[in-house]
């Protein structure tokens, strides 16, 4: 059994242990979950230490690392085929970190501890699996495996409108999934011999008619766009985010949104090069809508969590714009932004969760002067918010600037419009800082405890990493660059 299989299935093992742990021992359950997420993360870090930076990946099996390939359903030519390259590896690490931290962020959950952690670990397996799968069928199974736990995690442990949010999330995502399924089957029957092997499908791509590529690209695009979420498929996100419990929001924003980007880069781009070229302009166009529209709507929010949710939509716009440029710079920027946003939005949702735990509301206008009562919390908050704003020296800046520079050479007008998004982002973030942390002291927030050790433990790694990646972006870019370059080469 290889490293990747252990990474993907270890959480399920933990879930089984929890299943047989008595309900009245929440601490054992929590620590089992800690171990079950820590070990895959640790293996991920170990793989980093033995990572071969020379291997390219993306299109050929030889370019992937830690490959495992076992026949699964011979009748349909389905294999258990996993492996990672520069595109998936950073996401594996991100998943490892965020799931590990989220378990600690779940400490406050009292209701149904057992069920929560079982579902959470199932979700973790789904996420890892999606990133390691190189067989389309396997990818799809993992992709959908995430739906079940997510539905229940939002629906049972969510806020007041949780049922609505949960089913909305489920239906939106399922609509996307079934389109991916149809596209997948179409490619299966078009390829010769019929195969679900993604790399063989990529090898087949040259022979596919342009119209076929465009139709399948559109089917995949809608499926992935719902996850990103790209305008106009974004409406599930604010509901899901607002109603989900804090750790689930972290995972949703930090990892699940990235699935859409990952799907486009892993599948749509190399598998359907002509479709990609045909759609690239529109991808950039929608990206710009995301940036500007997301920022404008974020500005109008009074619910802190909703603000963060819309800021996610805005930030994912930069990713789409960078990807659509089909330049090395833009693609690297997009993937960098993916990781950066994973860290920052995770941090933001943790912050909102911490305030909500104390104040039991998230109305920005009712806060004020928290800086006096909770100085440490405010310090961390301002660093994360500034990272989100795109302050130079932090990861958000690198991702956004690289995406914009990459896009500028290709889509001049669109890029100029999207710059306004940067200004709007500064406006809503600074305004939020002013209203929540500065301003008039309010007595009702007196005596709020500052961040606890556990809370600080979940936040500090994110803060440190955004700064490290902001100063030394090469750490990540070195992993990703060759793979992304290869994807561009395939598109030609």
């Amino acid at each position: 059994m290889g490293y990747l299989t252990i990474i993907a299935f270890f959480p399920i093992l933990g879930a089984l242990v929890i299943l047989f742990t008595p309900k009245d021992k929440p601490l054992i359950i929590r620590w089992t979950a800690v171990v079950s997420t820590a070990i895959p993360f640790a293996i991920g870090l170990y793989l980093w230490s033995i990572w071969d930076y020379a291997m390219i990946g993306a299109t050929t099996e030889a370019g992937f690392q830690f490959v495992e390939k076992v026949p699964w359903i011979k009748q349909f030519n389905i294999t258990y085929f996993v492996g990672i390259d520069g595109l998936s590896f950073p996401l594996i690490l991100l998943t490892g970190l965020l799931t590990f931290l989220s378990v600690f962020a779940s400490w406050g959950i009292e209701k149904g501890v057992k069920g929560f952690h079982i579902l959470f670990l199932l979700l973790t397996t789904g996420m890892y699996g999606t990133f390691i799968a190189l067989d389309f069928f396997l990818f799809y199974v993992f992709w959908e495996l995430m739906l079940l736990p997510m539905y229940f995690l939002i629906g049972i442990w969510g806020g007041p409108r949780r049922e609505y949010a949960a089913i909305k999330f489920f239906i939106y995502t399922l609509i996307g999934s079934v389109l991916i399924l149809l596209g997948m089957l179409t490619l299966y029957f078009t390829s010769d011999p019929h195969t679900f092997n993604m790399l063989e499908l990529i090898g087949n791509a040259a022979g596919w008619a342009r119209s076929l590529q465009i139709w399948v690209f559109l089917a995949f695009y809608i499926g992935f766009a719902i996850k990103i979420p790209a305008f106009p498929f974004h409406t599930w996100l604010p509901d899901a985010h607002v109603e989900a419990p804090t750790p689930i929001s972290v995972i949703l924003a930090g990892v699940l949104l990235k699935m859409g980007v990952y799907g486009l880069l892993r599948i749509s781009f190399p598998m359907l090069p002509e479709g990609t070229v045909w759609f690239a302009y529109w991808l950039a166009f929608i990206g710009v809508i995301n940036i500007v529209y997301g920022a404008l709507v974020a500005m109008a929010q009074s619910d802190f969590k909703k603000l963060v949710a819309y800021s996610s939509i805005s930030h994912m716009g930069f990713v789409m714009l960078g990807m659509a440029s089909l330049t090395t710079l833009g693609m690297n920027g997009a993937m960098f932004q993916v990781i950066s946003h994973g860290l920052l939005s995770g941090g933001l949702f943790l912050l909102v969760g911490i305030i909500y735990d104390r104040a039991h509301h998230r109305d920005i206008d009712r806060f004020g002067g928290l800086g006096v009562h909770m100085p440490r919390f405010t310090g961390i908050s301002i660093v994360i918010l500034m990272g989100s704003l795109g302050l130079p020296g932090m990861s958000g800046f690198i991702g956004e600037v690289m995406s914009l520079l990459g896009a500028f050479t290709v889509y001049r007008t669109l890029t100029i419009i999207s710059i306004s998004g940067l200004i709007l982002t500064a406006v809503y973030i600074l305004w939020t800082i002013q209203r929540v942390y500065l301003g008039k002291l309010k007595d009702e927030y007196k005596g709020f405890p500052d961040v606890s050790t556990r809370e600080a433990f979940t936040l500090i790694p994110l803060v440190i990493l955004t700064i490290i990646f902001g100063i030394f972006p090469g750490i990540l870019l070195n992993i990703m660059d060759k793979t992304l370059q290869q994807i561009i080469n395939v598109i030609g």
């Binding site: 229940f152 079934v178 389109l179």
Partner: protein
């Protein structure tokens, strides 16, 4: 083949008939535990029939009883399938079979009826002569009417039975009329001969009418729209085990009949299993079936959205699944037929399991309204989890067998480039998610008003539930053997 010679290939049906006689005698002879002994006898007979069918599984393809009945892998598949259905339903009835139970208070009656239906189903899947088809279909129908009205004191039971009879009579009549037209057009009673003759018949309105009327009989059994109106009332009024039986037994018989009809009339004998079927009589069989598929699944799903009574919900969901199955036939290919057989198997496991949970809740709470399910997830977590798996399978989500079934059906459509039908199919899956998840939501998100004092569920049904749910998961991930089975069953015709 002559009668005496044919009997050799007819052993499973003979065993069932013998068992039926024994069940009736036992019912008269026994004083107590009539139902239980009938159930045991039936179980033994049905299992023996399956074993007999299995023992002769490799005899290839031949016609017996003066070419009125076919014996081929397709028949073998369904013989075993119906036996499994029979045993499943028998175990299902166990808590009702006590002398004062819902079923047991009338002695062994229920089991003799069920056994008769099974004999009909056994005969129907092999019938290739229109008279034989009609007799077999009636043999399924008539005992079904009685089973539907088993609670004759209850208004709903009588209503169920009456509706079933009226629609059944109508559908049988329509089918008979269709057969008579086909006979008039071709002069044959064997459907294969009719099929070959049809290839030279000029297409026309007469043929179209004949075909659609012929489909009515099979469509009625599998609750195809517009022949589905009986389903909700019958499911609601009949004893739950009977409704469960209707939803998997006679329904599968209807599917088998339809497949055989489409196969023989539309395509004529084909040797290769994966080859396409050509359209006899110039009719676009694929389009006719696709049209039925679209209205059946869409209407079924839309109607299910509004149901709060779980048995009615199951009825409409059953209609929707009939629509999915029709998609496989509409693909009009070997792959499509394999997909249909595969789908029937996974549908059997999931649907019977769903009924089983409904029955347990009904016994505990006395109602099958969706509110009875509130808090089931916290009250009986294992039951809740099992039902969620089943619901996922019925929706067609991965790592359950239902997903593979849908995938198989969609594959068949996409292979034939019926993209539009595939899109309607997946859109329907999304719609179905809404009502299936509403059940899951009620179980896990809603709090129960009161917690019943003591457990009345017993042990038999939970064990059966586990036996049904495990394959749903196993076939979701390791479905290779089931594909081989479907390929075998559709191999020779």
């Amino acid at each position: 083949m002559e009668t005496v010679e044919s009997l050799r290939y007819f052993v499973p049906e003979l065993i069932l008939t013998g068992t039926l006689v024994l069940v009736i005698i036992a019912d008269v002879a026994m004083k107590k535990r009539k139902a239980l002994s009938a159930a045991w006898l039936t179980g033994i007979g049905v299992s023996a029939a399956a074993l007999a069918a299995l023992a002769n599984a490799d005899q290839g393809s031949l016609l017996i009883f003066y070419d009125t009945t076919a014996i081929d892998p397709f028949v073998t598949f369904f013989r075993i399938f119906f036996s499994v259905v029979g045993v499943g339903v028998l175990v299902f009835t166990a808590p009702h079979a006590a002398d004062d139970g819902a079923i047991g208070r009338r002695g062994g009656e229920f089991y003799s009826l069920m056994l008769t239906t099974l004999i009909g189903a056994y005969l129907l899947v092999g019938a290739v002569n229109i008279v034989m088809i009609f007799i077999a279909l009636e043999l399924i129908s008539i005992p079904s009417y009685v089973m539907a009205g088993y609670f004759k004191e209850d208004e709903k039971g009588s209503e169920a039975s009456t509706k079933y009879i009226i629609y059944g009579a109508f559908a049988s009549g329509a089918m008979m009329y269709g057969f008579s037209l086909l006979y008039g057009l071709t002069g044959h009673t064997n459907i294969y001969e009719i099929g070959s003759a049809l290839r030279t018949v000029e297409p026309g309105i007469g043929l179209l009418v004949a075909v659609i009327l012929t489909l009515a009989g099979a469509g009625y059994k599998m609750s195809m729209v517009p022949f589905h109106f009986w389903a909700p009332d019958v499911y609601e009024g009949a004893p739950t085990p009977a409704a469960a039986f209707f939803s998997v037994g006679p329904k599968a018989a209807g599917v088998a009949l339809l497949a055989r009809l489409v196969w023989s009339l539309g395509a004529g004998p084909v040797s290769e299993s994966t080859g396409s079927w050509f359209a006899a009589g110039g009719l676009s069989w694929s389009s006719i079936l696709a049209a039925f598929a679209v209205i059946t699944m869409t209407l079924g799903n839309l109607a299910a959205l509004r149901q709060t009574n779980l048995k009615r919900l199951l009825a409409y969901s059953g209609v929707a699944h009939a629509g999915y199955i029709l998609m496989g036939l509409a693909a009009f290919s070997g792959l499509g037929l394999q997909a249909v057989l595969f789908y029937l198997v996974v549908y059997f496991f999931a649907n019977l399991a769903f009924f089983l949970v409904v029955d347990m809740v009904e016994r505990e709470k006395g109602t099958v309204d969706i509110e009875a399910f509130a808090g089931l997830g916290s009250r009986r977590p294992m039951l809740g989890v099992a039902l969620v798996i089943v619901l996922f399978s019925l929706t067609g989500l991965p790592f359950t067998a239902g997903f593979v079934g849908k995938l198989y059906l969609l594959s068949a459509l996409i292979e034939k480039q019926l993209y539009w039908l595939a899109i309607i199919g997946v859109a329907n899956s999304v719609v179905s998610l809404w009502y299936y998840m509403r059940v899951a939501k009620t179980m896990f998100f809603d709090e129960a008003e009161q917690i019943p004092a003591s457990s009345t569920i017993g042990l038999v049904q939970p064990v059966l539930l586990a036996v049904l749910v495990v394959p749903v998961l196993v076939f979701g991930l390791f479905f290779g053997p089931l594909i081989d089975l479907a390929r075998f069953a559709s191999g020779l015709f």
